[in-house]
Amino acid sequence: MAEQEKTQIIIVHSAKYQTTYNKKYENRKVWAEPNFNHINSYIPGTVIDILVKEGQKVASGQSILILEAMKMLNDIKMPFKGKIVKVYVEIGQKIPKNFLMIEIEPLD
């Protein structure tokens, strides 16, 4: 009890406990609701081709971008019928995982 370290609080079942955090807990990812209008990379890789233009209307299932990762060409498809709002990447760009590539919006 000699040294008084900086204490932090953990709440479990409504009780507040004085304790300290470890690095992993401090760096944990806070969950955010996924935005279905954002097409993010699910694997790091290189943008090989962009098959759509901003403002273009695209049918569900149509290819919109080719992402090369782990020596494979991944065909990124339109998840639903919609419009291309903005393209955030360029051909040849290397991107990490979860990188916003294309923003879309649904069309009825």
Partner: protein, 514 residues
Amino acid sequence: MSLRRNILDLRKRKDEVRKGGGDEAIGKQAAMGKLTARERILAIVDEGSFHEYDMFVEHAGTDFDMGNKVLAGDGVVIGTGTIYESPVCLFAQDFTVAGGSLGLSHARKITKIMDHALKMRVPLIGINDSGGARIQEGVNSLAGYGEIFFRNTLSSGVIPQISVILGPCAGGAVYSPALTDFVFVVENISKMFITGPAVIKSVLGEDISMEALGGARVHAEITGNAHFFALSEKECFEQIKTLITYIPWNNTQKAKTFPVREPKSKYKIQNIVPADARLPYDIREIIKSITDGSEFFEIMELFAANIVIGFGRMNGETIGFVANQPKVLAGVLDCDSSDKAARFIRYCNAFNIPIITLEDMPGYLPGVDQEHAGVIRHGAKILYAYSEATVPKITVIIRKAYGGGYIAMNSRHLRADFVFAWPTAEIAVMGPEGAANIVFRKEISEAEDPDAMRQQKIQEYKDKFANPYVAAAKGYIDEVIEPQETRKILLHALRISASKDVQGPSKKHGLPPF
């Protein structure tokens, strides 16, 4: 006189091999703060006890002009020795010879000493310092790794296997250490990864140093691959020697016993724990207040510090301690701490080491990240490991034992042999705060002063359930004890459990959730 000539010739041949990769390569090794392979072995074993084998083995490469090259001992040293007079088998990769790269002969030397260790039922210590597969030998190097991994698995749970990472250990090579019981790393020297920084950068554009990607601290603190972290090779060797004193030679024996010593008087067990269950303390102080000589050899100190594991001795005998750590994350169970504890419990069980569990935990760590990281799957491992273990299992509940955590931490229901509780123990489905909010939801929300009502109901619940006597009334606790009696009672329980013999149903192997 011809015999003398033969002897001189032999000496010359051995000296030639001992030069390894030559003065320049040894100089480079030293500049990195690294000893040579033979120096490392000699620093670990008892003086004069090491014998080296297969010094004259030649490499098997023929392609790419390899046939003309001489590689001393093919880049690895193997042999036998003793540590505090206990026998061990050792191998050490020699980075000064072709970067310690693994070819067919190199692998055969390693598997030879592994086979020897398993046959003789003695511990195996492997020192890894290698650039990886010897690419000139092609698929033969891969075959070599496979033969090593297979033997690691075969020996698992039969002989202790210790891996010491004293240099690079990359690509497939990492899986031998990962299959062994204890991995030792040294800051700025150990580097472990599957894919190195250069490839990661070229493929993914992520720029990271070797140290930040797979250095000693990363594996000791973040990945949990390493069990012991040291600042120098010297400190690392001391850790290895200390570990050897705590573990048996094999799974049919017990660890060596030592003279009994009382705990040091500065550890006053009744003064360590705050009465308020929401305040932290260092559980290692409790461990040191009950072990012989107040000694505690902690394992994985930096990883998942919310649970503490390690060896101490009681009555001269090695004991495995598993203890919640209120000082870190309130001592909650989570994915990492469950993994850490479960593996250690299985280690103790495999090598006949009794387990003492010290419990003070509020439950599982809440959070989306935990749920999505698989806290169900990981948390189940701890239940599995305790249930499966047949060594003596003793629990002391110090303060909080709530919910699923109470069951998981070696409860009576998982076949603990003895469960003791301090009078400060609180054994309940959850803490009083959470319970009152649920049980008295209506009363609290309808009260004129909900906060006052909540406090009143919390107190009511506390008085009724936040104690060890409800569980003791059902026989789930064997005895409620005074804190200062803890060591005495544990010594007694260990003595009574000394010839414990329980047999589970016969099976090929269980299916733990890993």
